[in-house]
């Protein structure tokens, strides 16, 4: 039995060890890397990508993908920006932003389930629509002068140097973990991604499960956007471009199976942390931005290959 549970935890453990090794290596090169401030920076840096990645993990486990999250992110930024500027109380604006994100996600879910579109194409379409909407709403201009009472909620230093946004990440991670592991929805999600036809023939409501998964993905994108809005103080309709790819990378490094049916919140969060640790490490050690892209890409490929080796090894053991 321990062998089996070790195999289940194997991926998260491996990413965690890789993260520790990476921190040690950077620390040996430059001791400035392991200061408290810098470690907090790593977590801060991973907040937005981490939240986006948790969301997309749900879409990927369902057997799909959501390319539109960077654009959902942008719409929520300008929408919540407008709301707060017009004097809507910050907490109300946050709830409305989250609902908006969830709704945009469910539109993706609707396209995928009721209209039977391929997730890649469906969300490629909404990606463009959502981006366009963000520009239309603001006429292409950023929303300026976001009130401080809003910014303080998501960006205030809560304990020492640790900003509130990190607690949003932790909160969403815990919520997502509970959803995946202990609710009927979570059980159904793995079933739908692992084998859709089997799930259907077991009496699982496949459409509803997928729509909720995409809705949650949009919900996460909304929170990531609202944190960005608080951090910057301006709502830029062009923001979030390419963020979906970083989110997919974090999920992939964390062991989410791209064809669905497999993945974990812990793995994805560790994947986001690893990417952030890498990025900051490369900056501190003075490696050029161009090389950062190359190294990041190589890490993703290694992570994917690790999955294949792991499968082979576990096949040998059993």
């Amino acid at each position: 039995m321990p062998k089996v549970s070790l195999r289940n935890m194997g991926r998260e453990l491996a990413v965690f060890i890789a993260l520790i090794i990476m921190i040690i290596v950077f620390a040996l090169i430059d001791s400035a890397y392991v200061t408290t401030g810098n470690l907090v920076d790593i977590v801060k840096q991973s907040t937005i990508n981490g939240i986006l990645a948790i969301g997309i993990t749900f879409a990927i486990i369902s057997g799909g993908i959501d390319l539109s999250i960077g654009c959902t992110f942008a719409i929520v930024i300008v929408a919540v920006g407008e709301l707060t500027v017009r004097g809507v109380p910050p907490l109300v604006a946050i709830v409305m932003g989250a609902a908006l994100g969830f709704m945009m996600g469910t539109i993706n879910g609707f396209l995928v389930t009721k209209m039977h579109l391929q997730p890649f194409i469906a969300t490629l379409g909404t990606m463009s629509v959502y981006r366009g909407l963000a520009y239309v709403v603001t006429g292409g201009w950023p929303v300026l002068n976001i009130p401080d009472n809003y910014r303080r909620i998501l960006n205030a230093k809560v304990i020492g140097d640790i900003p509130g946004s990190i607690f949003v990440l932790i909160g969403i991670a815990v919520l997502a973990h509970i959803l995946l592991k202990t609710t009927r929805f979570g059980n159904y999600l793995f079933a739908v991604g692992g084998n859709e036809e089997s799930a259907k023939l077991s009496g699982v409501n496949v459409s509803r499960t997928k729509i909720i998964a995409y809705g949650f993905c949009g919900f996460c994108a909304a929170f990531a956007g609202m944190i960005m809005l608080a951090n910057l103080g301006t709502g830029e309709p062009a923001s979030g471009q390419g963020y979906e790819l970083d989110a997919i990378a974090a999920a992939a490094i964390g062991g989410t199976r791209m064809a669905g049916g497999k993945g974990s919140v812990l793995g994805t969060v560790l994947g986001a942390l690893l990417l952030a640790a890498l990025k900051i490490g490369l900056i501190i050690t003075g490696v050029s931005t161009f090389w950062q892209y190359i190294v990041t890409g190589i890490i993703i490929i290694i992570a994917a290959y690790f999955e294949i080796i792991q499968t082979k090894i576990s096949a040998l053991i059993s």
Binding site: V4, T183, N187, F190, S198, G203, G261
Partner: protein, 438 residues
């Protein structure tokens, strides 16, 4: 090979060096290529990197003529029937001049007529000096077509026998290693009750089946026989809500129900063990416990959350009752044997307390010992007051375990037989559209 030692690095290597071709159980055909392109795939006759169709098509057609195929090299592969695709694979073996052809369960998806045609071809190939390795679960076929039979059990070589001097019972004994009544028989008394559990009337799905009516009694095992493609699976899927109905009425315990999707079926108390376990039955990357729990998670809730302990308790109960092996709750169902996978899916439905369980080809790809266990479990199910429908293409199976048999042919019900009227000849006659004058 011919006394020489050969090592095959991969399937391609085997084809080139030793001329061994394997015809797979599930035929590997690229649907959007022509027959000729499929057969020559990877070895297309070509001139300066451009495929030479003037050479390819006649070469392939010559092979197809030899196999007496009624399709041509230029036909698109997706237009072929399952039987024709099988012939395509054999043609591919001949294209590579294979001297050894291995067929893995070739008749699994073939109709009776196609099987006859295949056997004629196999005999002809044997006459021309080609060696055939024929892997099959169907013992009748082994005696019909094979000269010698080798028995493997649990990955080990057991023995090789001359089929001419061996009986079916001998063979079975070697296969199970102990005496097991492998042919399907009822061990307990029939327990059919008056009460009607499920009644369907005029069930029609346009172009697939029409006007299907029957009654399923409480405690009954109702067999559904017919040739592959007769529409039995489709009727069951429609009753279960997996496919849409054009018209028809389903009544459960006398009450009309509308089953629009599989959730409705589950709520109404109908369960289905699908034909293809791998693609329709269990969930990949998922443990036995979770696979069993999937259809009734609401039973395992504590404060609204799914309780692992309750799922585990449920699994252990059924693992014990159904003798699931390996029994570890954390074991991935995808790594189990066919028979045990079937038991996992059965356990899933038993967990839900459904009243009607539909078994679609329950013993397909299941070894002899596990078959007997599945029959025993079916009997236990009906003795507990539930009802069972069995769709099976194996005649001894439906005859052995059913209380009544409904025969279908090309989407229509052609007969409803009581136990005293059971015989392979009668059923086959109705299955092929006959009118009962066997």
């Amino acid at each position: 090979m011919d006394g020489e030692k050969v090592v095959f690095k991969n399937p391609n290597d085997a084809i080139i060096k030793g001329c061994i071709s394997k015809v797979h159980q599930e035929v590997n055909v690229v649907r959007d290529l022509t027959v000729g392109q499929n057969i020559t795939l990877g070895y297309e006759p070509s001139r300066a990197m451009i495929v030479d169709y003037k050479k390819l098509n006649p070469t392939v057609n010559k092979i197809l003529e030899r196999l007496k195929c009624n399709f041509r090299s230029e036909d698109m592969a997706y237009t072929l029937t399952a039987g024709q695709m099988q012939m395509l694979s054999i043609a591919k073996a001949l294209f590579h001049n294979s001297r050894v052809i291995s067929l893995d369960e070739p008749t699994a998806s073939l109709t009776v007529r196609e099987t006859e045609a295949l056997f004629a071809i196999i005999r002809e190939l044997r006459e021309s000096g080609i060696t055939i390795i024929y892997v099959s679960h169907r013992l009748d076929e082994v005696f019909q077509i094979c000269d010698r039979a080798t028995i493997l059990r649990d990955g080990a070589y057991i023995t090789t026998l001359e089929t001419a001097t061996t009986t079916r019972e001998d063979l079975i004994q070697y296969m199970v290693g102990r005496e097991v009544n492998a042919t399907a028989t009822r061990m307990k008394e029939s327990c059919v009750q008056e009460e009607v559990a499920l009644e369907v009337e005029g069930l029609t799905r346009k172009g697939v089946f029409k006007d299907i009516s029957f009654q399923l009694h409480k405690g009954e095992i109702l067999g559904f026989s017919g040739l592959v493609g007769a529409g039995r699976t489709e009727v069951m899927r429609a009753i279960f809500g997996a496919d849409k109905l054009t018209s028809g009425q389903v009544r459960l315990k006398g009450k009309p129900v509308r089953i629009k999707n599989t959730q409705d079926a589950l709520r109404s108390g109908i369960g289905l063990l699908p034909e293809e376990r791998k693609t329709q039955g269990f969930i990949n990357f998922t443990t036995n416990t979770d696979n069993v729990a999937l259809s009734c998670l609401e039973k395992f809730l504590t404060n609204g959350f799914v309780d692992k302990k309750k799922k585990l308790r449920n699994y252990r109960h059924f693992a014990e009752e159904l003798q699931i092996n390996p029994r570890q709750p954390e074991f991935l169902t995808q790594n189990m044997s066919g028979g045990n996978q079937q038991k996992i899916i059965l356990a899933r439905w038993l967990s839900t307390n459904v009243d009607v369980i539909i078994f679609d080809e329950p013993t397909k790809g299941v070894d002899v010992a596990a078959k007997a266990e599945i029959y025993r479990l079916m009997e236990e199910i009906v003795h507990s007051g539930k009802s069972v429908i069995v769709v099976s293409s194996e005649l001894p199976e439906v005859i052995g375990i059913s209380d009544r048999i409904i025969v279908m042919c090309e989407g229509e019900k052609t007969a409803e037989l009581e136990r005293e009227a059971f015989s392979e000849e009668t059923i086959l006659n109705y299955a092929m559209g006959g009118n009962g004058n066997a």
